[in-house]
């Protein structure tokens, strides 16, 4: 029994790294995703953004993490940023591609008149995006953003490939040491599932916080 408890504690403490990767990754993903989605509407930036999104979505995350860790980060920063920072950058940029496409759908589904009304009232582009367009878009695409967050949570497990001691890696370590798979893998699965349920709960809370009555 005490062995089970210590396993739970050991694997569960990997949730700290998992959550750091998730929170860092989704924040970076949202910030860059918004920038990508807006830039995409400008003709001069569109080819660059479309190319970037296409490459990011067209290659495995596992590969992207390795490329960032072994090639890009050393080449760009001339130093080792560490597993956590590399993970956040790689997962964040990957997430940004998906977030930008989610936002694009939301932006394109808004009536064109909302942009025109902002223009007619003389609202400059920055304020139009920040105060008029994005608040409406984010409310409308919130379920998809929660979905993306849940996906990203599970993708953080790939950090194990560059040595990050997250939930998955710790479970694998116990399994490898004792040749016993059932217990550690089950503990890892339950931990992930619990985290996903917490995310879903938070997502529902935000969705229910009606920003405006009955959506138009």
């Amino acid at each position: 029994m005490s062995k089970l408890l210590s396993d739970v504690f050991y694997i569960g403490s990997g949730a700290a790294l998992t959550m750091e990767l998730l929170v860092g990754g989704i924040l970076l993903g949202l910030a860059l995703g918004v920038v990508f989605a807006i830039l995409r509407r400008y003709r001069w930036a569109r080819p660059v953004i479309c190319g970037l999104v296409s490459v990011i979505r067209g290659t495995p995350v596992l590969l992207q993490i390795s490329i960032f860790y072994f090639i890009l980060i050393p080449a760009l920063f001339r130093c080792d940023l560490g597993i956590r920072a590399t993970g956040i950058i790689a997962l964040g940029i990957n997430s940004a591609a998906y977030v930008s496409e989610i936002l694009r759908g939301g932006i394109e589904s808004l009536p064109k008149g909302q942009f025109e009304a902002a223009y007619a009232l003389g609202i400059p582009p920055f304020y139009m995006w920040r105060d008029i367009i994005l608040p409406q878009v984010i409310m409308n695409v919130l379920p998809s953003l929660v979905n993306e967050t849940v996906s990203l949570l599970k993708e953080t497990a790939l950090i194990a490939t560059i040595g990050g001691m997250d939930i998955t890696r710790r479970a694998q370590a116990i399994a490898a040491a004792r040749y016993e798979y059932f217990t550690p893998l089950c503990i890892a699965a339950v931990t992930y599932y619990a985290l996903v349920r917490i995310l879903e709960f938070i997502g529902k809370k935000i969705e229910n916080r009606k920003l405006y009555a009955e959506n138009m």
């Binding site: 008149g113 909302q114 025109e116 007619a120 003389g122 304020y127 405006y212 009955e214 959506n215």
Partner: protein, 231 residues
């Protein structure tokens, strides 16, 4: 004075406005009539700058307010926020209070003072119309452009719109209204232009005709026959 000189606009090689010239006197109410697709909305949108004309020029110095056919209120803001967002965005805090007071007065004047805290989704069509009007008045426009202000409104609400626009006109605001509702235009306008296929085919002043609507309708009949012949 608004001077529109020889403007042209086409979409996908289909001419929507074709060499249109209009001079609009200060503090007048001009009506743009015509069937759907005749170019009246495009003309308004060119004046506001929402569309760039392919040819010709539009000269106007003064603030322009625009009232959209489907209002385009911001759904995530209350009625009051819709009104004060633009003027208060960069105003100092004491000035902000003045704008809020001004917005509340405007809403009261338009008979929707009690709705200041409501979201647009909870308002009726006529109430949204009033909010849209109030929002465009917040910037003290010299020229107000109204795109189909009576579409989708019932008869009683339409006569309210007439009264409201008259009130606005009393503030020395020049008004241009695009509408296919001839009776409405005749009731309120000093001058009505009839557009067909992007050209002005009639320019009348209701004061000079005993029955302007009938007079204008004769052009409609003519244009219908014309269309039939072409078909």
């Amino acid at each position: 004075m608004l001077r529109i000189c020889n403007i042209g606009k086409s979409f996908n090689n289909i001419a929507v406005l074709n060499d249109v010239s209009v001079h609009v006197e200060e503090s007048s109410i001009l009506g743009l009539a015509g069937p759907s697709g005749s170019g009246k909305s495009t003309l308004l949108r060119c004046i506001q700058g929402l569309e760039k004309p392919d040819a010709g020029s539009i000269k106007y110095d003064g603030k322009i307010g625009f009232m959209f056919q489907d209002f385009q209120l911001f759904p995530h803001m209350t009625v009051l926020q819709n009104l004060v967002y633009t003027p208060t965005r960069k105003a100092a805090s004491e000035k902000k209070q003045q704008y809020i007071a001004k917005a509340n007065t405007l809403l009261k004047e338009l008979g929707i003072g009690a709705k200041a805290g409501n979201y647009p989704s909870t308002l009726s069509g006529g109430q949204k119309q009033r909010v849209a009007l109030a929002r465009s008045l917040m910037i003290d426009p010299d020229l107000l452009l109204c795109d189909e202000p009576t579409s989708g409104l019932d008869v009683a609400t339409i006569s309210d719109v007439v009264a409201l626009l008259r009130k606005v006109h009393k503030r020395n605001v020049t008004i241009i209204i695009a509408s296919h509702d001839l009776d409405f235009l005749v009731e309120i306008c000093d001058r009505i232009m009839l557009l067909k296929s992007g050209q002005i085919i009639a320019d009348v002043r209701p004061s000079q005709h005993t029955n302007t609507a009938l007079h204008l309708k004769s052009f409609y009949d003519f244009s219908c026959d014309d269309a039939r012949e072409q078909a």
